[in-house]
């Protein structure tokens, strides 16, 4: 089954092309690493797949939905199945860990229930289960700003686990952490510690990390797909070309 299908997708910002004629199919359950230098179009591509950026041309189909025709209630339902992790993690530091984990589940809760949970936390068993999977079960009631950078990274993963999505989009989740932790986070995103596997698309700077964890590597250069191969077949020259200047 196809999880993501990009068909001739282009994105222009004013006169600048961020993506040009991208054709791509990603099957369910794949872990894809997105590589390329800064400005190559990695974030734009993730934004398009997430439905946060509308392409100027082409069609985007995600989890069986054509994003252009999706709105209102159906869009919300679709969004519950897609999780985003950004470089900044988007955690709210003044909240307890459990609330940041439950934030992944807000799409399933009514606003009233969400508000009540801030006062008297709900879904403790589920949040605890998610935190156990990332080894943070003892920090469930700690304030997030008391956690180390690495622990926060894992809270962000626990939030994704709590959401239980079908598709995970992560934009350079490893760029601000040390190598050991990058390895751990990348492992969690590609091989979720859950019985319900997901499709993940992770943009990374470090090609070695991509090769080690992802099954497939897609290289972007000047908004075009310049490389698309299984991670076992990728050569050092291929990667070096990707990061070269000029066209």
């Amino acid at each position: 089954m196809t999880a993501v299908h990009l068909n001739g997708v282009g994105v222009r910002y004013g006169s600048a092309d961020a993506l040009v004629g991208v054709d791509l199919k990603i099957a369910s359950g794949e872990c894809v690493a997105l590589v390329g230098s800064s400005g190559a179009g990695k974030s734009t591509m993730l934004g398009v797949i997430a439905g946060l950026i509308s392409p100027t041309e082409g069609a985007v189909e995600v989890l069986g939905h054509d994003l252009a025709g999706l709105g209102g209630r159906r869009l919300r339902e679709h969004r519950r199945r897609v999780a985003m992790v950004s470089q900044q993690l988007d955690l709210v530091l003044s909240l307890m860990t459990i609330h940041n984990v439950n934030a992944g589940y807000l799409g399933q809760w009514s606003s009233a229930r969400a508000l009540a949970s801030l006062i008297h936390p709900r879904g403790r068993a589920e949040a605890a289960a998610a935190l156990t999977q990332v080894g943070l079960e003892d920090r469930i009631f700690s304030r997030t700003d008391n956690l180390s950078g690495g622990e926060r990274q894992r809270v962000a993963v626990a939030r994704v686990l709590r959401q239980g999505p079908d598709l995970v989009l992560a934009d350079e989740p490893t760029s601000s952490v040390d190598p050991r932790l990058s390895d751990e986070v990348m492992g969690l995103l590609c091989r979720p510690p859950t019985d319900k596997p997901w499709t993940s698309i992770v943009s990374v700077h470090d090609p070695d990390l991509a090769r080690k964890h992802a099954g497939r590597i897609i290289g972007l250069r000047h908004g075009r797909v310049a490389l698309d191969t299984s991670s076992g077949d990728v050569s050092d020259e291929d990667l070096a070309k990707l990061y070269q200047d000029g066209s």
């Binding site: 919300r76 897609v82 955690l91 709210v92 609330h99 807000l106 606003s111 969400a114 508000l115 801030l118």
Partner: protein
């Protein structure tokens, strides 16, 4: 040095600072000229009454009966402030959602709601009160609404700006994962701005206390009302008892507010919030607030009457001439008042500020640290020693600060109309009593704000000039003012905007400007003309806002 080597002295052009001084002096010169100077200003005949007022300071009325009355009146003023603040926050939160770009976007509805909120902001609490009294009579609701409506509009603007300035990434991330807007707001945004909102709410409470006292003067009850009664019957001893109560109330509110605003401890802010929330039902009970009055048939009838009286707003019997002259009076009054308040406030605020910085703090000079010209560069300032060194000078300085702080507290705790009553004793009617009264009151407000800014500025530059041997005054002008300058100027310009609106407060007791005109139309029950004059005031207020914003851009 051979001076002939220098061909010409470098010329300094029109710097920002020079232009600011010229603009301020020109405005002041015009305002003073307009208000008039000479024999017609000071009324020597009233000096004995003025003297008796101050002589009563040390002899306040302490009879059991009057003290009980004072305590009850204090509770009423506090209750108005608490309930007014509660309404302020309610309107503020709902309004913020309507005018925040994040939540409401920036379409037509957003523009419209911004405009709708600008109007109540431009109308001073006291004008809300005089209009609401026509509908509700002398009901506690009047005070609560008069504080809550205009303050709520201000709070909505501030809250919206806080929300728009916050980090939106968590909010957007939650929305992207399918969370409803309200849930995303509670989880992704509110926790990040909660501290700022709590701190601003306490600042509003502090303002509400002063406002509640002013509303008392026009008959809403509480300390302001008792002050007015005692003033009219010339019982100066009672006045000082009431002023003491106001100073305590206002002082505690100010202290509480600045403690909450400066604290980093979550326990302090949480405890304060709980105490503040507990005060709401107590206040409700104490003033016997009955919200059903809001929709009673009498309210509806009188409200409809007032609306039909008001529309269409029109000029007073003397037409445009009168309105334009009163408008110019208002502007002149506000300029005199703000210059008076800023000058006095800077002087007293500087004294009231605790010493900051490593060198100046405990009052020992560079020489005490053993710096001699020989090893100037190796010296590294020691961290400040607690008061142990030089105890004599710091006790004197501490006492001086305390006295100045009390003077500032007195200036802002006594409502401006009461200062105006007092000024009318020694100044002939005209613009001066009102301008000076507003000047004194705002001196108290600005002095406190200035001292906070001075305390919070960077200490480095002051240390540097103290270490080269500069004295107190020199270091003040060479390091303190330049470092804190932009903040001080922008605070002053914001205050000017407030003072323009406050001119009605002294005007309503007859001290000139549009306020006095409004008061005359009120006495004639000519509500259409009242609203006409309020319209003129709104136009002036909004124009001054624009000028002040331009000046801030230019000079800050």
């Amino acid at each position: 040095m051979d001076m002939t080597a220098i061909k010409s002295t470098p010329k300094l052009g029109w710097t920002v600072r020079r232009r600011l001084v010229v603009v301020a002096l020109a405005a002041l010169g015009w305002a003073v000229g307009w208000a008039g100077v000479g024999d017609g200003v000071v009324n020597t005949g009233g000096i004995s009454g003025f003297g008796r007022f101050w002589a009563a300071v040390f002899n306040p009325e302490l009879g059991g009966e009057f003290v009980r009355l004072t305590i009850e009146a204090t509770a009423v003023t506090l209750s108005f402030a608490v309930l007014g603040t509660a309404l302020t926050l309610l309107i503020g939160v709902i309004g913020a959602v309507a005018v925040s770009e994040l939540v409401a976007g920036n379409g037509v509805a957003w523009r419209l709601s911004r405009f709708v909120l600008a109007v109540p902001r431009s109308i001073h609490e006291i004008l809300w009160a005089v209009l609401l009294v026509q509908v509700f009579g002398f009901d506690p609701l009047v005070a609560v609404l008069a504080i809550g409506v205009p303050f709520g509009a201000v709070a909505a603007k501030v809250f919206a700006e806080t929300i728009d300035a916050a980090d939106h990434a968590p909010y957007r991330a939650l929305r992207a994962s399918g969370a409803p807007a309200l849930s995303a707001f509670f989880y992704g945004l509110l926790p990040n701005v909660r501290g700022e909102l709590v701190s601003y709410s306490f600042y509003r409470f502090e303002c509400s206390i002063r406002s509640a006292a002013v509303l008392g003067v026009i008959g809403a009850g509480g300390l302001g009302f008792q002050l007015d009664l005692s003033f009219e019957t010339l019982r100066y001893h009672e006045i000082w008892t009431l002023i003491a109560a106001l100073m305590i109330l206002s002082g505690v509110a100010d202290w509480w507010s600045s403690t909450v605003r400066r604290t980093t401890s979550r326990r302090v802010s949480r405890t304060s919030t709980v105490v503040a929330l507990a005060l709401i039902p107590l206040s409700w009970f104490w003033v016997k607030l009955d919200v059903s009055t809001l929709w009673s048939s009498r309210t509806r009838r009188l409200g409809a009457d007032l609306v039909s009286d008001i529309f269409p707003p029109r000029l007073g019997p003397d037409g445009w001439g009168e309105l334009i002259e009163a408008s110019i009076d208002t502007v002149a009054m506000s300029i005199i008042a703000v210059v008076f308040a800023a000058g006095g406030g800077l002087l007293l605020g500087a004294i009231a500020a605790r010493r900051t910085g490593n060198v100046g703090r405990s009052g020992f000079a560079a020489a005490d640290l053993g710096i001699s010209p020989g090893h100037g560069l190796e010296f590294e300032p020691e961290p400040a020693q607690p008061a142990s060194s030089g105890p004599k000078s710091s006790v004197a300085a501490g006492l001086g600060r305390l006295v100045v702080r009390l003077v500032l507290l007195l200036a802002r705790a006594v409502p401006a109309p009461i200062w105006a009553f007092l000024m009318v004793l020694i100044l002939f009617p005209g613009l001066w009593p009102g301008a000076v009264a507003l000047g004194i009151y705002n001196l108290g407000v600005l002095g406190r704000l200035y001292s906070e800014v001075i305390e919070e500025r960077q200490a480095g530059p002051t240390d540097a000039v103290v270490l080269v041997g500069a004295g107190r005054v020199q270091s003040f002008f060479y390091a303190v003012v330049p470092t804190a300058g932009p903040r001080l100027i922008s605070l002053t310009l914001y205050r000017w905007e407030v003072i323009v609106r406050e001119t009605v407060v002294v005007g309503v007791v007859g001290a000139g400007g549009l306020g006095q005109l409004i008061n005359e139309h009120l006495a004639a029950r000519d509500f259409a003309a009242v609203v006409g004059a309020i319209g003129a005031l709104i136009v002036i207020s909004l124009s001054i806002d624009v000028i002040s914003a331009r000046l801030r851009r230019e000079f800050v």
